[in-house]
Symmetry: C2
Subunit: 121 residues, 2 copies
């Protein structure tokens, strides 16, 4: 497991975990069937509580990205390349829709948004 959490971030730790792992799953970095580390081990490695790990894992399962079985563990779900690409773009566009609301409130046009995007990307 390769994640980095920031205690100074304004985002909750469990959401940081969810964001990073869901990205790794949908980019294929974590293949289908891959076993996530046991929550105790993950908690110890990241120096955080078991419950915070569990909350992140819960969100991942709710999104259908992993399957979890008591006594066995948590495993990355299986997807085709097409499914993964579609899910990735869906997640990004959903986020983007909220982001652009903010830009639009300043009267920013699509062309201006693209220009600024090129600058910061």
């Amino acid at each position: 497991m390769n994640v980095a959490i920031s205690n100074t971030s304004e985002k909750p730790i469990y959401q940081q975990l969810f964001d990073q792992i869901s990205a790794q799953i949908l980019t294929g970095e974590l293949p289908g069937g891959y076993p996530l580390p046991p929550i105790r081990q993950a908690a110890q490695e990241l120096r955080i509580s078991v419950i915070t790990i569990k909350k992140a894992w819960e969100e991942l399962e709710r999104s259908g990205l992993i399957t979890t079985t008591t006594g066995k563990g948590c495993f990355v779900a299986d997807f085709s390349s097409e499914e993964m690409l579609r899910m990735r773009n869906d997640m990004i566009m959903k986020q983007m829709a909220g982001d652009t609301d903010y830009y639009k409130s300043f009267g920013l046009s699509l062309e201006e948004a693209i220009e600024l995007l090129k600058k910061v990307y």
Copy 2:
């Protein structure tokens, strides 16, 4: 004052106020010298507490967008068109930088980002 607050939003009320009013100032919708409504009046209109208004106004002053004087009121600061445009783009780009971090975590390229942006804008 023309603002709409959502109690179901995940964003704090004071931040919703800050976002909307700062946008109205930097787009020229609220001209320099324009008097913001007294916090009591604003609180009554929006059905929220005086303190929440005050917190939003505080952030606006901290950003240099308004000046506030006890006993007198709060007034929109004076800016040239160039200053306003620059401040607007700065605020948007600052926000955009955080937004793109999320996109990049999915391995999204600039070209892909622009394509998706066109779809959702």
